[in-house]
Symmetry: none
């Protein structure tokens, strides 16, 4: 080793190690395709392009690896910046948000971990709970805050904004999400999503638009 060239890159198993991200990437694909039990550590190692032993250098066991992925996805999805600018009018805001939300849920690649996490929630309650809180509840709260900002005599008349937010998000799924997760239909087209979200928006505003006296 030549003096002065000493390598400062002692890559360790820290949170952002490239190997760690490589493993998470490979494992995510396998977990999402096959489910927690269906995914084998052998297959994960192959998919990640590392040896089986290396998996265990970065993650204590299969559960921890899975949790790390869900956690990461939580953070990732929690960062999805839906446009809840209070300056925008409710109709546009809801229509844009609804489209983005359903597209996230029904991504063709099945990239969303929602199904996989739901499947394992009974055996790994903490994972399920944290996913709900970090991803779904957070989005509900953001939408609820937006709605609250528009509660006014000449705007929206909502008593329970969090319930209303949840109602909008659910009604957007109508005819789209369940056929998709049960593999009874392919991922919906952007056009169909648009129609359904528009219908949901109309229903929502019909219920919550403040009546002019």
């Amino acid at each position: 080793m030549v003096a002065g060239t000493s390598n400062p890159l002692h890559v360790v198993a820290d949170e952002d190690s490239s190997k760690r991200r490589q493993i998470l990437g490979g494992a995510r694909k396998v977990f999402m395709d096959l489910g927690f039990d269906g995914a084998s550590m052998n297959e994960i190692a192959r998919s990640a392009g590392v040896s089986k032993g290396t998996l265990y250098v970065y993650f204590a066991d299969k559960n921890r690896l899975f949790e790390a992925i869900v956690e990461e996805d939580s953070i990732e999805q929690g960062k999805v910046a839906f446009n809840f600018d209070p300056a925008r009018d409710p109709e546009t805001t809801l229509r844009d948000f609804g489209r983005a939300y359903i597209m996230l849920l029904c991504r063709p690649g099945g990239g969303s971990s929602i199904r996989t996490v739901m499947a394992i929630a009974e055996r790994m309650p903490d994972v399920g709970r944290r996913f709900y809180e970090n991803v779904l509840e957070k989005t509900i709260n953001r939408l609820a805050d937006y709605l609250q900002a528009h509660v006014a005599p000449d705007d929206l008349a909502i008593d329970d904004c969090r319930l209303a937010a949840s109602q909008f998000m659910e009604v957007c799924k109508a005819s789209l999400f369940l056929p998709f997760v049960f593999q009874a239909a392919p991922a919906p087209s952007a056009e169909r999503i648009g129609e359904v979200v528009d219908s949901a928006t109309r229903m929502f505003l019909a219920a919550y638009r403040a009546k002019v006296v």
Copy 2:
């Protein structure tokens, strides 16, 4: 098979053999409690009160046994007779149906097979699709038929009744179903279900009640 040479006592593969039903009963509990991968044939045999070998007399393998259960549950749940008597008024009908539907989905025991089937749908697409068609789509269609019967100038103004049916069913889940399946909250109380379904009903009718001209 030549008539007269078959032993009438050996009707094993008969759809309604008592042993078969015994196995299905035991297996259902185990599959729904532990999921497809979590359920072992050992545990299933114990739960059904038969020997492990007997399972294979009636079902070719674990997949077929699981499929048979989902199929049976489909038929069973498809038979659940929600009261869609056209003579009843929409508000009462929707409120009663919504309550019954959510209670089915959020049964504390997790008795509903919806989560288990959703979990396996990616690996067993046919099972998922048939479950959706036999259970969920059938209910949507029944509700849609009921709504269609009430489309009238002085009753409901609905363009796409199947979408509307699906919308009502989704909006009933708001704030209840996702926290439950993700184990972020215990099964909701009957009272809370009542409030949420009432809110859903109001929203639905606000959107679809025919406007008096």
Copy 3:
């Protein structure tokens, strides 16, 4: 199946199942040859002539299998009937017992589990303790009882018979046991054992033979 010939031999995994004994036999050899850690379940299965899975039908895990062998050996060795008939004179009794005892300890095949158990005692203290109590302590107590029966003014003058019994057993090992267990010498010949035990007997009696006043 012909009536009247119903087979009562539903061989179950009870204590004396022949498969169980077959497994114990094969496992004993491997454990004693290679030690607890050195023995693999694969090798044990091969040695026992059963499949790996069968091992787990009869024993919950490797530890339990090992414990069962040690327990069985304890019972077996605890049954070794040294002749402690009080009617026999001490000199003969001690010489016969000493020979039998050393031959047991230094069996050429290494059949004795003493070394293997000693090795694992630190990690499996219960196994070690039970082995000591069932095998070694039991023999000490029997010899002590015999000695006690001979405590008399014209026979033996012993204060602490259990210590004396232990002393005799230890002194019999002199120059024989340690070279054997450390593989520094082959199993001693019967002739050499005779000489050493005779010397031990003389020493013991020199110390404990009642002095004629």
Copy 4:
């Protein structure tokens, strides 16, 4: 090796390299605590305060490292200077030696390598043999030499001094060593050791003290 071309700073394989001693020190503790199989190279590296790779710079593999430790311990323990000054009288000498010997064997920390080596002797016969020869046999010989020096008409009457030496060492263990190694009793107290060694000394002298004619 050509004189002048070897780098004097690279004396890695040197028997007394400080790193080498550091490794041996850390490894000794781990091996003696956990046994050969129980000790992992990871744990050894941590205990020694070096990297895992460094272990392999100094020792070809785990076996060689273990052998080096046993060898070192052999030499170390072989150096333990029991006081065999021929000028001292046998009774005191034996009592002092016996106490020191048993305390070494029954050290609470299990520091003695005797158990660890005994455990592995069947799989690594050379290690066992060398340990016996360097440690146990050497001590026997020293004691035998001392005894030989006291063979005299008015002192000791011993025919086979090596046997006698071994006999004394064994009889000192009575009631103490086996319960300790089998974890059936905690390490004996100094007081109890004193009693047992005194009894052993009396027995020894009763057998071998020259009879006054």
